[in-house]
């Protein structure tokens, strides 16, 4: 399953009510995020890629397939573009039950030489919806609807998934229950994804590449953590401040805590978190708000906090009276962002390259599993 991700090229302009959506971007990352406040043109961008908006001018290509090219009047209608579109409001078919909804795009999957039976089984298992198959759509909860809509898109054998704010319609508790499903789906199916979101946690957990959309224009792009700690983007990012989120593997359980291997296989960093629900070997997503990490300039002794991690500062961004300090912990481990005051930065004489220690209480970690 390690075929390289086909290149997605979106280069078009689309007149909207308030402004013209103008994008020119090429990505070969598996998950590309489109980040911005509501009204920035995010959904219009997805609808244009899906072919629902017909008045866009420019070029849209996935790999070798051209979906739009205004110079030679190429415009493929939605049913000829291999997209799996998951809109914000799910749009499940109310006249069909869950199984029928999941199989609504099965014919297309077969045309694309996908074995629908095994695909269906994998989707049902991964999204944990076996118990829902004969249910009517009207009886499903919000989280269940979201999973069925996602499953329906994958079962149609798409070459590109378009996810519009997959978590936005859910309340906070539910939101972080769906996140692991999305993450597993990303790992399991390896389908290129264009994901629209205004949630920095979601973006960081899922995206390999991020572009920021403001009033129809791309104002920043790059690795999600880099982009989200950019002071120009930061006010957009979140009122609650920056949230670190990264994958980890459960190593062992203690009575009320668990030890996790931070990052990917082969990382040497261990963290102590509240007890995880999964089994040793399971992957989880771990979150920590940037303001919940304390920085020390030497290794502290005699603290109750269970996590003291050595790290090096890679850069410091100023965001008003706050500074966002990015630190690197080692190989195969994602960088973390720490939020401290401007004053602390000066008093501790923090600068890129300096060695620091991160102090994190066990209870500060948030596990999404």
């Amino acid at each position: 399953m390690n075929t390289p991700t086909p290149q997605l090229r979106i280069s078009f302009s689309l007149p909207l009510d308030q402004f013209t959506l103008q994008v020119d971007y090429t990505t070969a990352h598996q998950v590309t995020g489109v980040f911005g406040v509501s009204g920035a043109g995010k959904t219009s961008l997805l609808e244009t890629v899906a072919g629902i908006r017909k008045d866009a001018e420019g070029v849209i290509k996935l790999g070798e397939e051209t979906w739009l090219n205004s110079t030679d009047n190429t415009y493929l209608p939605p049913h000829q573009r291999k997209v799996g579109y998951v809109p914000q409001d799910n749009l499940l078919f109310p006249h069909q039950n869950v199984r029928q909804n999941l199989l609504a795009g099965a014919k297309r999957a077969e045309r694309n030489q996908r074995e629908i039976d095994s695909l269906f089984d994998r989707v049902v298992q991964l999204l944990d919806i076996a118990g829902l198959l004969s249910r009517q759509i009207g009886t499903l909860s919000g989280g269940e609807r979201q999973r069925v809509a996602l499953g329906r898109a994958i079962c149609s054998g798409p070459g590109l998934l378009l996810l519009d704010e997959p978590l936005a319609s859910l309340d906070v508790a539910l939101r972080y229950q769906i996140l692991p499903f999305l993450h597993r789906m990303k790992e399991e199916f390896r389908i290129p994804i264009l994901l629209v979101s205004h949630d920095p946690v979601e973006v960081q957990a899922l995206c390999d590449d991020l572009l920021v959309l403001k009033a129809g224009r791309i104002t920043a792009s790059g690795h999600p953590r880099e982009v989200l700690t950019d002071p120009d983007v930061f006010p957009v990012a979140d009122r609650e401040g920056f949230q670190n989120i990264f994958p980890a593997i459960i190593e062992a359980h203690e009575q009320e805590t668990s030890t996790l291997q931070m990052g990917e296989d082969g990382s040497s960093i261990r963290i102590v978190t509240p007890r995880a629900a999964g089994n040793p070997g399971d992957r989880v997503l771990v979150g920590i708000p940037a303001y919940d990490i304390i920085l020390g300039d030497h290794e502290p002794k005699g603290l109750s906090a269970r996590n003291i991690l050595q790290a090096d500062i890679t850069n410091i961004h100023s965001a008003g009276t706050l500074n966002l300090v990015t630190v690197t912990l080692g190989e195969n481990v994602p960088n973390l962002v720490v939020e401290i005051t401007e004053k602390s930065t000066h008093e501790m004489a923090l600068e890129p390259g300096k060695e620091v220690h991160l102090i994190i209480k066990t209870a500060s970690w948030r596990l999404h599993e």
């Binding site: 209608p77 049913h79 997209v83 799996g84 749009l91 078919f93 006249h95 014919k107 149609s156």
Partner: protein, 225 residues
């Protein structure tokens, strides 16, 4: 029950059924076009189709009479052959079809307008072309309202009087229908026969309205998706 009464009931059943069949398919397509597309002349078409709802049925009948008469637009002279419509059961079908059309088209149009167009777009992104989308998504999503439209159209055809009597006459055993038979029975004082036919009319009407009430109530909120 006399032979002519039975014959009137059978003729009504036959003509109303044929008229409903004739009206349903083009009526549904027209309703869909009116619901989903905008084009020049759309309001004029919608108005013409709706006219029989408000015009005196005898006036519609008179117009049809002129259309199918010897020198009319669809008369024997223009067509080059005689379709033998006037004063036959076919005239009943024509009258019923014209009078039922507005009810079918308007009900179907409102139904299609209630189907969330984004669901159709969704079907397209799942690989279904326009025609497949219409038959496998739009029609099933609209099925309850369309059934109501058909029932209303059929019932309207069963009760048609003014246009029918104008172009088909009221010939017992040949063009006499339920409604014209009630008129005749009442005119000559055959009360028992009139009461019986009244009962049938009540039953049909009651069942039809009941059914449409049921169909509209159980509609599962498609708009909200």
């Amino acid at each position: 029950m006399t032979e002519t009464t039975i014959s009137a009931l059978l003729l009504t059943l036959k003509t109303a059924t044929v008229a409903t069949v004739i009206v349903t398919i083009p009526g549904t397509l027209l309703a869909y076009i009116l619901a989903r597309y905008s084009f020049p002349g759309k309001d004029v078409i919608a108005t013409i189709v709706g006219l029989p709802l408000v015009m005196p049925p005898t006036a519609v009948g008179y117009l049809l009479l002129k259309t199918f008469s010897t020198h009319g637009l669809l008369g024997p002279e223009t067509l080059g052959f005689d379709p033998e419509i006037l004063l036959t059961w076919k005239a009943v079908v024509v009258a019923c079809s014209v009078m039922a059309t507005p009810l079918v088209v308007r009900t179907a149009r409102v139904t299609f307008e209630g189907v969330n167009p984004r669901l159709e777009v969704m079907a397209q992104t799942l690989g279904h072309g326009r025609i497949r989308t219409f038959f496998f998504y739009t029609l099933p999503l609209a099925s309850r309202g369309l059934l109501a439209a058909i029932i209303l159209g059929f019932t309207r055809a069963v009760g048609e009087f003014g246009a029918t009597i104008t172009i088909a006459g009221n010939i017992p055993g040949r063009t006499q229908t339920l409604s014209t038979a009630i008129y005749s029975a009442q005119q000559v004082g055959r009360d028992a026969e009139a009461y019986f036919l009244l009962g049938v009319a009540l039953l049909v009407g009651f069942a039809a309205i009941m059914a449409t009430e049921y169909l509209s109530r159980k509609s599962p909120g498609y708009l909200s998706g």
